[in-house]
Symmetry: C2
Subunit: 336 residues, 2 copies
């Protein structure tokens, strides 16, 4: 496979998937994007690295492609925006550019990525291709549109705001533990299926669209590194302290299974610190009428933002007896 042939194949698959915002896609030095007069553009980039974010012996190519794009789409959702275009940079090792098996892997990777792209109207509009001397390396860029001045920011929380999360937490981390113990049980997961938060996370774009319309959200972030770390970012940027009720945290059923199986970490630890959930974490004014279910996904109030006081920790966890303990950010840290 030559580089030109690979680009031509991708271009063919992306063709006809433009949008009113994407004016020019694959095939020039740049793509061209034109937002509506009352909109602005949001931009995010995310790596998916072999050996770090995925393993070819553990993850189907479809899962790798799906997760690659899902990470970018989730960031767009966390701004209250709508995706309009994606850009994929691929550095491929020798065995993925030579021979039929390599080509089939790349095709199936694109199957997974483009199925998700189609579902959310984010056509592939460009990128880069290169040979990698190390593991496979993917970098996804997603552009979205949002009404001017309406993007949700991490700095948007106020003292007194309630804290919410969507869905249930810790499922992806629990499934990763199960995968590490028994990879064969997960072989052949090719299609996005419910109940596999590690392999096929669902970006909360439908949720974000409805919440944006309702105008209820103060600050927001997606839970990619773990609740404790991502809530820390909201505290940092908003200059506030967070109090979280441990009992209120919606714990994914897979965390219970992992706990029962004796895998590392209790269910609540996985829910607090497990990464890769791609649920939304957001704040709303205390009196805001946030529905318990939005776009088919539960929304749970888990705590509140309070004024920061000297000598008090940035995040606190309230146990069932009302006692407050320090909540440390113990989510994903790449350089550990």
């Amino acid at each position: 496979m030559t580089e030109k042939a690979l680009i031509a194949a991708i271009r063919k698959r992306a063709r006809g998937r433009g949008s009113s915002v994407l004016r020019l896609g694959i095939g020039d030095d740049c793509a061209v994007v034109r937002p509506a007069a009352d909109e602005e553009i949001v931009v995010t980039t995310d790596f998916s690295l072999e050996g770090v974010h995925f393993r070819r012996e553990w993850h189907s190519p479809e899962s790798v492609g799906h997760k690659c794009l899902a990470r970018g789409l989730s960031d767009v959702a966390a701004m209250g925006a709508r995706p309009v275009a994606a850009f994929l940079s691929m550095a491929l090792p020798k065995e993925l550019v030579e021979g039929r098996r390599g080509k089939a892997w790349v095709e199936r990777f694109l199957d997974g990525l483009l199925a998700l792209a189609d579902r959310y109207g984010a056509p592939l509009a460009g990128g880069d291709t290169a040979r990698s001397l190390g593991p496979a390396c993917f970098d996804i860029v997603v552009l979205g549109t949002v009404k001017r001045g309406q993007a949700w920011l991490r700095s948007g929380a106020e003292a007194g705001d309630a804290i919410y999360v969507t869905g249930a937490l810790g499922g992806a981390a629990a499934e990763l533990l199960m995968l590490e113990r028994a990879p064969r049980q997960f072989a052949g997961l090719k299609k996005a299926a419910l109940g596999h938060p590690h392999f096929f996370p669902e970006p909360r774009l439908a949720m974000a669209a409805k919440l944006a319309k309702a105008g209820l959200v103060g600050a927001a972030i997606d839970i990619s590194d773990g609740l404790s770390t991502d809530l820390g970012h909201i505290c940092d940027e908003s200059g506030l302290t967070a109090e979280v009720d441990a009992a209120a945290i919606p714990v994914h059923q897979l965390t219970m299974e992992a706990q029962r199986a004796g895998l590392a970490g209790t269910a609540i630890d996985l829910a607090l610190h497990g990464g890769d959930d791609y649920e939304l974490l957001f704040t709303a004014r205390p009196g805001a009428k946030v529905p318990r279910r939005v776009a088919g996904v539960t929304v749970t109030r888990i705590g509140r933002m309070v004024t920061r006081r000297k000598g008090r920790p940035q995040m606190m966890l309230r146990d069932q007896d009302g006692r407050l303990t320090t909540l440390e950010p113990r989510g994903w840290e790449h350089f550990k």
Copy 2:
């Protein structure tokens, strides 16, 4: 160095470098960009991979950082656009995130990148960081603005158009040959200096701004893979054939030096097929008054676009005696 500390350091260095277009930079799930009402956004992404695009034992960190961004800026120039924001994704191997020497390398890489970013008003607005299990991997995204509908496209050439290139060609390829033979001679090239097209290529943004204002350009592309390959893209997208006058091609003086030194390839071969020049290749109507010098850089007419005829090659080279031979695209090919 923790990931958080690295991001904080980059954010600190990028602070205060916003623009009217960049509304929100590093620190949220996405950056926010707002073009003027009469503008649209161009987007490009480019890898810089250790062992493929650079070697740490050959290139100073400043050169790697400069080239990383220059590749993206050059794509923006090739659309006739103006850069407004850059996004840097970095996957760093263990030795670059641990210890003082690694930290110093990353600091100097950022020095090179940010010096160029400052010069062209492209503030660092986001990106991603990760640990690499293989070589270092950088992916740069550059966004630019251009007047609506005015972007230069590869498909914009018409039969009869004259073909132009900026600057001189083959210098980067010649310098790479010299580097391969005697790396020590090039040790310590830390600052952008004239005469080092391989280490510190200059994106033709000033040239592009003046040509865009004059409205002279039909099709355009930057010469990143080599004249023969990049001209092939204009032929492909415009559905035309190109005739190039060999004697007219502006040959970089380093190609002569390389030829005299007996390094691989003649001067004209390096100018025709050498990559990494980052000069602009463009077409203009035959009667257009294209100045011979724009923004301090020479502009040279090297041939013409003609109607494609069945059985005729896509590109032809005219020698000094007027004989036409086939010009094959023999520039850079990543998967070779």
